[in-house]
């Protein structure tokens, strides 16, 4: 009896051990699984896909993934509070188009103009986010419905502004954002790294990050624990919108044009990256690192299949299978990890 009490009261030594074990089992396992899958895929492609393992191609994949991944940072925070943002595709089109509209008439595009354009896109995205947040947080409309509405509305607005025509931007500093390099690294990849860093600080190093996880885990418990839930919802959707706006800006820079009718269904790519990354659609559980690997996994999968000249229909089918497998494997890992009750 006395032995038991001792081990309860001074758990210092055992705490450290089990803490490590608990972390490994519940948190990192998914990342390891994803990383393993990614490495496996890379190895397989290195052998069977021509030109896969070249610097050119690998940087290419990273750059192509970066736009989805940047939007996925915002989407991760949204899904963590058990929300969803279906308006991402429309917001990417809308914010990119606004930036392009600002630049299209200019003959010369300098750094200042580019910065303004980026700001416009980010603010446009944040604006859509604010609208989402208000509809969800203040009016109490479920996120699925609210963002379905903005998906339609924002798209309509983008088309209205442009009469559905693409808005071209003179090639120059702006397209550098989407296609340029600093050293060997493509600019979008660097921006993606920056956004992930911001996301990491937000979720892991700031109080609001703790509150985001709490609201997703149990909203009423979080509220009773002093979390101002409505404010938090607003913040999260604005942050997600800003990420999406930035993604839209990079997309328009890459395409040297605003595409008001483009990026239909883009939100599904983003959601897929987040979910494959192990973030639970029920909220409260997930990590940004998972989101990164999720986006990369889907991107690499598609890239290799393209290099191997696999028919597009099969690519779509395989991507679907990967999503299901990822979710199922994640479920198994989770059940193993916390086989309690």
């Amino acid at each position: 009896m006395t032995m038991t009490e001792k081990s309860e009261l001074s758990p210092a030594s055992s705490t450290r051990r089990t803490r490590g074990a608990a972390r490994l089992s519940s948190m990192n396992l998914h990342d390891f699984g994803l990383l393993g899958a990614l490495l496996l895929l890379v190895c397989v492609y290195a052998i069977i896909a021509p030109n896969f393992l070249t610097e050119f191609n690998l940087l290419n994949v990273l750059r192509q993934v970066s736009i989805v991944a940047i939007a996925a940072v915002g989407m991760t925070t949204v899904i963590l509070i058990a929300g969803i943002d279906l308006s991402v595709g429309s917001t990417v089109a809308f914010s990119g188009t606004l930036a392009a509209l600002f630049l299209t008439e200019r003959t010369e595009i300098g750094v200042i103009a580019v910065l303004i354009a980026v700001t416009i896109a980010v603010l446009a995205g944040a604006g859509v986010g604010l609208l989402n947040g208000l509809i969800i947080g203040l009016l109490g409309v479920p996120a699925f419905i609210a963002t379905l509405a903005t998906l339609t509305g924002v798209r309509g607005f983008a088309l209205l502004l442009t009469e559905a025509k693409p808005v071209s931007v003179p090639v120059g500093d702006y397209s550098w954002l989407g296609t340029g390099h600093i050293g060997p690294l493509p600019v979008p990849v660097l921006i993606m790294a920056l956004v992930f860093f911001i996301g990491y600080v937000l979720l892991s190093r700031m109080k609001i990050g703790r509150r985001i996880y709490a609201v997703g885990g149990n909203e009423s418990a979080a509220r009773l624990s002093g979390v101002r839930v409505t404010r938090l919802i607003l913040f999260v959707y604005i942050f997600a919108g800003a990420c999406t706006g930035l993604a839209g800006c990079l997309a328009s820079a890459r395409l040297s044009s605003g595409q008001p009718a483009g990026f239909i269904g883009f939100e599904l790519d983003v959601i897929a990256a987040v979910v494959v990354g192990g973030t639970s659609l029920m909220g409260g559980r997930g990590r940004l690192s998972g989101t990164f690997f999720g986006a990369l996994l889907i991107g690499v999968l598609g890239n290799g299949l393209t290099l191997m000249d696999v028919q597009t229909y099969w690519k779509q089918i395989l991507t679907g299978i990967v999503i299901v497998v990822a979710i199922v494997v994640d479920g198994i890992i989770r059940r193993r990890g916390s086989q309690a009750s």
């Binding site: 009896m1 038991t4 009490e5 309860e8 009261l9 758990p11 055992s14 705490t15 089990t18 803490r19 074990a21 608990a22 972390r23 089992s25 519940s26 892991s204 190093r205 700031m206 109080k207 609001i208 990050g209 703790r210 509150r211 996880y213 709490a214 885990g217 149990n218 009423s220 418990a221 979080a222 509220r223 009773l224 624990s225 002093g226 979390v227 101002r228 409260g284 559980r285 990890g337 916390s338 086989q339 309690a340 009750s341």
Partner: protein, 511 residues
Amino acid sequence: MSLDALLEGDIAGPMASPGTVILRGEGLSKAFGGNQAVDQVSFDLRAGEVHAFVGENGAGKSTLAKLIAGVLNSDEGTLEVDGSPVHFPGPHDAQAAGIAMVHQELSVVSSLSVAENVLFGVEPSRWGWMHRQKMSATARKYLDVVGLHVPPNLSTARLSTAQRQLLEIAHVLALNARIIILDEPTSSLATSDAHHLRELIGALREAGRTVVLVSHDFDEVLDVADRVTCLRDGQWVCTEPAETLDHDKLIRLVTGRDVLVAPREARVHTGEAPVLEVRELTGPGLVHADLVLHPGEILGIGGLVGSGRTELMRILAGDVRPTAGSMMLFGESFAPSAPSAALKRGVSLVPESRKEQGLILHATVLQNIELAALDSLGSGPFFRAGAARMLAAEYVEKLRIKVSSVHAPVNSLSGGNQQKVVLAKVLATQPRVLLLDEPTKGIDVGAKAEILTLMRGLAAQGISVVMVSSVLQELLDSCDRIVVMRGGRTVGDLENVDISEEDLARLAFAG
């Protein structure tokens, strides 16, 4: 009783003469995540005995039962039946060896009829088809035995929880097992049904069956059991013949402590400047409430469920806004717009439902404890994980929360420990007024006592406590003053001196 006749049929497995050991467990261990639920437990079961497993929540008694029934597989240790080692990969294998279990979480199939549930897996058939008439007749025999008088063809979905419990017992009888495990069988039964069940257990023993009874209810255990095995923290404490035990001994064995909670001397606080003053408060579910709370006072709120007690607490905690009336906190107006505002003023609530409003169940102990005190953990918007860990470790120790690490998920904890986590979270905000809504609901004796003791300690430190409880004795034992509510009104405000449960009950019911 038709039981004897019913039980005369072939039972699964050989029949042993009464008193012989028919099942033996050696060094059984089972862990969930980092939590050692059952730790090196050895025991035996004899033919024709009623063997009770007792212990606090989380002591490992249900887990041990599930290891026997093949519902769970042990990490270590061996099981022997009739002297030869066995391994049950699943419940079906255990059933084949004559071992069946009635679960605490009921497992009847609600889309099937009563008869189909009773005879699930042993349906009488004729030429490979289910034999409906025979099925009804057979099922009715088992239903009569357990005292469940419903038509066999009734849909199970229409049964109450208690009826389902009886149905499940009938099912286990139909499996004709020689070892029958009952996990908290009377927890959802009314007194008369519970009494009937005790008789049934006696009859089973007479028929040479072995019954394993997992129970919280010491009276029941002392009444029907032949031997009692006591577990604490997953470890075996003792196995004793029931006739050598009494209520107090059981409590001591189960908790490892002698005292639970002795009644506390009520103190009179009137005359001191009140901490909280509520006047003519009206709100959703609340018609009219007056309340005064003094420094260091424990104020009890009694009343029936729906009398407005929870509604009052929610208004005080800022979760719901009142429609009229005034609240003063330390002499200043108090009208919190949200729980966050109440917390800032030093008022925090341990809500009634810890799973729905108190905890993030899948999150860790750390994540739960740090949540309400986030503002103090790090400077500005930044969060200091180190400070949070220290805070959590401090409260884990202070409140003696039994957990392998602060990183363990809360849902791996027992009810009492979960409640302590909620309390830790609330205390970490350093409240001046602590609101407790049914703080001892659904937790075991030991944890109950600990929480009540803790509450008294806080009051002694000068924290004012408002405590809602449906257990009147609990209020009488701990509170300085008791306010009784009925129909959304405060209908009585009594100093806890020379009052009885009857006095409170008379006020709580319209009387």
